[in-house]
């Protein structure tokens, strides 16, 4: 092998085709593989056997951090660092601290969600082997691909190729790493 192989890529033209093929690859027991779709396909996570995303946990952590930050900010600035009586109101109360804490909870959740999504997805990554595939442009337009990586323990050039062909894939090619 001259250039090291990243894996195999197979092309599918229709949503139901790639959905059924994904079920077959999942049932064959592959772990390191992926489906390239131009839009989120409803139910494909299940067909691939993916677990529920962990992004919500990161979001929750962000939200709690924001709420605590808001309360701490209002309490520390108003009641500790420089207490000033304004309008005869208490130095600190969770009631008047709530709007600011609420907004910060939302702000921190948003950042945690987006940064979390990028980190979990391993993005930004501008040099992935899939992006070097000649026809990948169609994957952002109207075509579907299944990629099975060579590092998968079940990967075997001939057998994996046969599986993809049997699942209905066309134009099955090796991807350079």
């Amino acid at each position: 092998m001259a250039a090291q192989s990243f894996g195999l890529i197979a092309t599918f033209d229709k949503t139901p085709d790639v959905y059924r093929a994904a079920e077959k690859v999942r049932d064959a027991g592959y772990r390191h593989w992926d489906v390239i779709t131009p839009f989120p396909v409803h139910g494909l996570d299940k067909a691939m056997g993916l677990k529920r995303s962990i992004v919500p946990r990161i979001s929750l952590a962000g939200g709690i951090t924001g709420l605590v930050t808001g309360m701490t900010l209002v309490w520390w600035t108003g009641a500790v660092e420089n207490p000033l009586i304004v309008g005869g109101k208490p130095m600190f109360s969770p009631i008047f601290a709530f709007p600011v804490s609420y907004e910060l909870a939302i702000l921190f959740t948003a950042f945690a969600t987006i940064i979390g999504m990028f980190v979990v997805n391993g993005l930004p990554m501008h040099y992935h082997p899939v992006l070097k595939y000649d026809h990948i442009r169609r994957g952002m337009d109207d075509t579907f691909y299944i990629v099975i990586e060579a590092r998968d323990p079940r990967f075997n050039l001939a057998n994996t190729k046969a599986l993809l062909a049997q699942a209905g894939g066309r134009d099955i090619q090796e991807l350079e790493a």
Partner: protein
Amino acid sequence: MAHVEHAATAPALSASNGPAILQEVKPAVLPRAVLVQNHRSFSWITEKICGIIEGKTPVWWWVCFSVACFVASFTVAGLTYLVATGVGVWGHANPVNWAWDIVNFVFWIGIGHAGTLISAILCLLRQKWRTSINRAAEAMTIFAVVCAAIFPVFHVGRIWYAWYLFPIPNSNVIWQNFRSPLEWDVFAVSTYGTVSVLFWYVGMIPDLATLRDRFFFAGHKVRSFLYGVFAMGWRGSNRHWSNYEMAYLILAGISTPLVLSVHTIVSFDFAVSLIPGWHTTIFPPYFVAGAIFSGFGMVLTLILPLRAVFHLEDLITQYHIDCMCKITLATGTIVGYAYSIEFFIAWYSANPYEGFAFINRAFGHYAWAYWVMISCNVITPQLFWSRRVRNNTTLVWVLAIFVNVGMWFERFVIIVTSLARDFLPSSWGYYSPSVVEIFTFFGTFGVFSSLFLLFVRFLPLMPMAELKAVTPAADAHGHDHGDAARDGAAAPHPRHH
């Protein structure tokens, strides 16, 4: 009703052989509107939306952009004069020390709210028709927040001290007054602006990847690089889509309480004070409904010309226009109801100041503004009950303009009439805006339009990936082909769910 009768008799017939009822009683398949007309393919959608960006800049764009920049220069001139001279160049004087600045602020921030409603609340409610308008509506939100922010920031007078709004340590060791709704507003609006930009950007990532690859293969390396940087190396991986869709859902989930809280806090600016006409508990829901009402007016104002210019009739169908008109009708009716309840409570509270404030609104010196508001906000939307009105795109556009005008007057009426006639007749006054104020406000329409035109020219006007997902061909189970009566992605999937 045939299904119900069947269900009632089924247990007796099938008691011996298991849950036959579920097999026999099929849920009724309601006809759904087609969201992408004429069975357009995935690549047709890509070509259509990318074509707007890739094509030659149309002449009308340059004309509109030049006019918009000229109009925007009025804001620049007005603000430059204000900073050079002082905040006294605006028409504020006792007792009306808050007028067009806050009117314009609430007007613009309210317009923004429809964008978030479309992108977040309609996403949570699974209103799939949102897909063709949400990108443009979110852009509208961001540019409206930009216009809104101009007014409070410049009203501080010494603009170079605007950072005092934020809790940044300063040499006076004085912190912000977190007991004040105005400080809550700083956090609400800055969070709203930030989260709106993030939500907009995240939604755009897959489409930026499409543009990156298209420009790359068309030989435009620089443009491909620029779109590519922001596309973050997106490659359409379903492992990514899985996290992406979850993140998008969470952003929709947090933007919903955010948008409601922002206009609630804006209304607290008034409701927490003791001014008659402001000090009412109805303000938060009333302001939120008004914001969405005005925002849909602006969405219609922007979307209908774009639909005509770019021939997007297959993507923004009559069904979409109907939906937008109906939301305008619903929120406009809520606003009308709020006006009448305000009057009722003013009488029912038996508070003479409150009663006077409302009688004065309708019949006092500013009665002209009040009746402009009532005609635009209460009467105009009621025309949307008629299908014939909704089918007449030009008329819908004109009515949407009336909604915009009416909602500006609503804020004017609430703010100025209440301040001009407060408790002591000795301090009463009449407020008129100065030329500088008029110029500054007029110019914000240019700021808004020029930003929106840049968006139309350089960024995907509609979310291509989301649009493809609501076409029948996107259905993974393939039982929707040729069935024009149903929207494929929204149809039930009995076999796998």
